[in-house]
Amino acid sequence: MSRGLWTTTVGSFPKPPDLERARNRFSRGEITAEELTKLEREETERVIRMQEEIGLDILVDGELYRGDMTTYFAERMGGYAISNPVRSYGNRYYRKPVAVGPIRRTQPLTVEWWKYAQSLTSKPVKGMLTGPYTMMDWSFNEHYPSREAMAMDLAEAVREEALALEEAGATFIQIDEPAVSVRPEELPLAVRALGRATAGLRAKTITHVCYGDFDVIYPALLELPVDMIDLEMANSRFDLLERFRQHPFTKEIGLGVLDVHNHRIETKEEVKEGLRRALEVLPPERIYVDPDCGLKTRTVEEARQKLTVMVAAVREVRAERGISP
């Protein structure tokens, strides 16, 4: 019997309305950091329990204590300032990091949250970081003479955090690089930076890439120096799999099977069909099944329902094909 089709998620979970309100109240100075942290810890435990109840194999802390995926880190690193709000789309804004000096990891960034989440479950919890290339690309730069210089300083900072996560016991470390898919000419820089960030790690390393022109970056994408590349598949109706027939996918894959930008709950049959198509071109022991991207844009109930369908579909396909987890 073969093993494989492990289930996981990409990282973020939806923040419940109470927590959103508390974050807003904290930003207005109406509650203390301790009060906000207490609520974040309670909700993190709820997310861990939810993942256990659904039956996921590899868990995440849900990132309920983070805002934007770059700003959270920049706020805790040396050399960064944070800008006034910048629009991302429509009426959505975020505060963007600004490199104003040499970027350094001056304190642990996520380790305490990882330790807390791991203490709540016997299942493995992934360490979740934003990659150096993406941190660079999604920041303003008022300090560095080149994009490369900035990315490589960030790589060192990310590496220090990854090593700290590993030392704390993390066996899966995911370093997300969603920005690498949009500037194919800079893929070599992203490879160098991620290579520095993952140098010497013994944990299984993962990177998540999304929203890009895969026609242009595949198969060069396989040069990213990690064990597993996590890709959105549902969003493009699993079209990417056809590319794997021409250029085999040589790493482990995080196979996105849920469209995270759609309120609709996928049917079990849809997910099973995607899994069956994936199994035509990839062996089960190299497939980890997850949503296309972070779930933070869904409601808590949508996230629960989507993941429940995903796990049920995986179980049925495992049974069909004689695959054990």
Partner: protein
């Protein structure tokens, strides 16, 4: 020497002064059912007033309306044309901003004015000519998913004709300048030049208004042999992110205008006006037979409002320095 100052595309909607109308807050309140569509409309108009007045006070010769009501730089126009649907959110090139992907589901046709009311409102606020801003047809096609046309050339021609009709409506409303935002020209390969021509010929031919084809982010080098022959008034180049666009200056036909994108719309680092003026001088020395505009490299909405405003002030100051009056 005359140097016209202008902006590209969209401008930050958020206020820089406490107490000013904040359209973001009003939209949030509307989403929560606490504000009406009329209140949002008033907030948008107040923001346009502020943005136009600011450009006037800074000394921008060709101000823009700022696309204050727009969610992104192409959807509102695609939505206004027949033949387009609007699909999911997708990243806008390499900017970490997003847009809703237009989908071509039938023959693309212009049936009614889309941006004319916005133009009229802004133009009534200033004696200076407001530059109308539209997505360029080649980029609108490349940003869209085409589910209808069998040949890309048919699609781009139809979009070019539709945007020509919108441009004619803007001209009838008094627009003297129309700016077409064409980021995809910087990504087009040489073999796509016929498509670029098919998109832009119906748009630019016979225009009464002066036109700017603005190419942010990357140099349109690969298609410039075709682009240079088209009847635009000005071509806008991003000389910060693509310094190799300087090389195109030698290929611009005599007597045309180049909009020099010398103020970085994608980084908060502030330019020294003297350095910008010096770069303008370099362009003039290289091609004294051309006329010049000075502008940001792209829409200033990639920046927080405070930095965008400071960049506009510095751009105007650089233009004054380049004109030889000491930046006063």
């Amino acid at each position: 020497m005359n140097l016209t100052t202008t902006l590209a595309g969209s401008y930050p909607k958020l206020p820089t002064e406490p107490g000013d109308v904040n359209v973001r807050v009003v939209r949030n309140r509307m989403d929560q059912g606490k504000a009406t569509a009329e209140e949002l409309s008033r907030a948008i108009q107040a923001t346009v007033r502020r943005v136009v007045a600011f450009q006037d006070s800074a000394g921008i010769d060709l101000p823009v309306e700022g696309q204050i009501a727009w969610d992104d730089e192409q959807t509102p126009v695609a939505r206004g044309l027949e033949g387009f649907g609007i699909a999911g959110l997708i990243r806008y090139l390499d900017t970490n901003t997003y847009y809703r992907e237009p989908e071509i589901t039938g023959p693309v046709r212009w049936t009614r004015p889309i941006t004319v009311d916005e133009f009229r409102f802004a133009q009534a606020l200033t004696p200076r000519p407001v530059k109308a801003v539209l997505p360029g047809p080649y980029s609108l096609y490349r940003f869209s998913k085409d589910r209808h046309y069998r040949e890309p050339a048919e699609a781009v021609r139809a979009i070019g004709e539709a945007l020509a009709a919108e441009s004619a409506a803007l001209e009838a409303a008094g627009a003297r300048w129309i700016h077409y935002e064409e980021p995809w020209l910087g990504r087009a390969k040489a073999e796509e030049a016929p498509l670029v021509r098919a998109a832009l010929v119906p748009l630019l031919s016979g225009r009464k208004a002066s036109t700017v084809v603005h190419v942010p982010f990357r140099s349109p080098r690969a298609v410039f042999p075709v682009l240079r022959e088209l009847p635009w008034t000005a071509v806008g180049l991003d000389l910060v992110e693509s310094p190799d666009a300087w090389g195109l200056l030698s290929e611009v036909p005599a007597g045309r205008t180049v909009a020099l994108g010398l103020v970085d719309a994608r980084n908060t680092r502030l330019e020294e006006p003297a350095a910008v003026a010096e770069a303008v001088g370099r362009a003039r020395a290289q091609r004294p037979d051309l006329t010049y505009q000075l502008c940001p490299t792209a829409s200033l909405e990639y920046l927080p409002a405070d930095r965008a405003a400071e960049k506009v002030r510095r751009l105007a100051q650089a233009a004054r320095l380049a004109a030889g009056n000491g930046g006063r």
